[in-house]
Amino acid sequence: MKSSAKQLRREAEWPPEEGEVISFECSTGPETAILKQVRWGLVWRDFILVDGRVIPEHRISDCPQPRVWRKISEVTDHEREECEERLLSMARAGMDPRERDQSFWAELTQYLAYTYLRFKQAGSKVQDVER
């Protein structure tokens, strides 16, 4: 009972605000840091920390369930094109996308997820119609 009340409070106050300390999972284990900003990506929300790292919402401890993700159809052409331009700019500027939890890594991860869902779903719809 106590835990569900805590969960309800957590959901009501979600997402945390700028300046709050958040806990999350990183490659070396659990960690805490100060939140700078919460920003929607193409699929999920990213939590940007004051040290510049970008943590996807699903890695934040106590993230309410079910997760809130965007529908692929909600992403505009303009938004997708801007994301593609940013990715190419970062690649051409010599940034390394393999630096985990950095902005290039975070943006590329979301772009791959979005592109996969977008074209897989579109392909499935065609197959459904053809059946």
Binding site: V43, H58, R59, P66, R67, V68, W69, K71, I72, D77, R80, E84, L87, L88, A91, G94, D96, P97, R98, R100, L108, T109, Y111, L112, A113, T115, Y116, L117, F119, K120, A122, G123, V126
Partner: protein, 86 residues
Amino acid sequence: MIPSDEETEEQQAWRVLSEAGLVEIRLDEFAERIRDVKRIVTVRLRELLDLNGGTKERESAAYSLGTLKELELKVNAPTPVDPSEM
């Protein structure tokens, strides 16, 4: 356990991406995941060309493919050496 036909769109997206290894990409799997996504885009592009329709989607798929190819080259490039370590 919720039956798959009662899955919400978000749950379905999570399952599809998890199965494809695209929710949490391990650093040593980035190149492979990009190839997987390129494959999906290529399949869709072929469908669109066969159907001879969806000009806007076709152009967008071709652009996505080009973007992915450039990013793949970047991911496959040798890791930059830190000059301070030389």
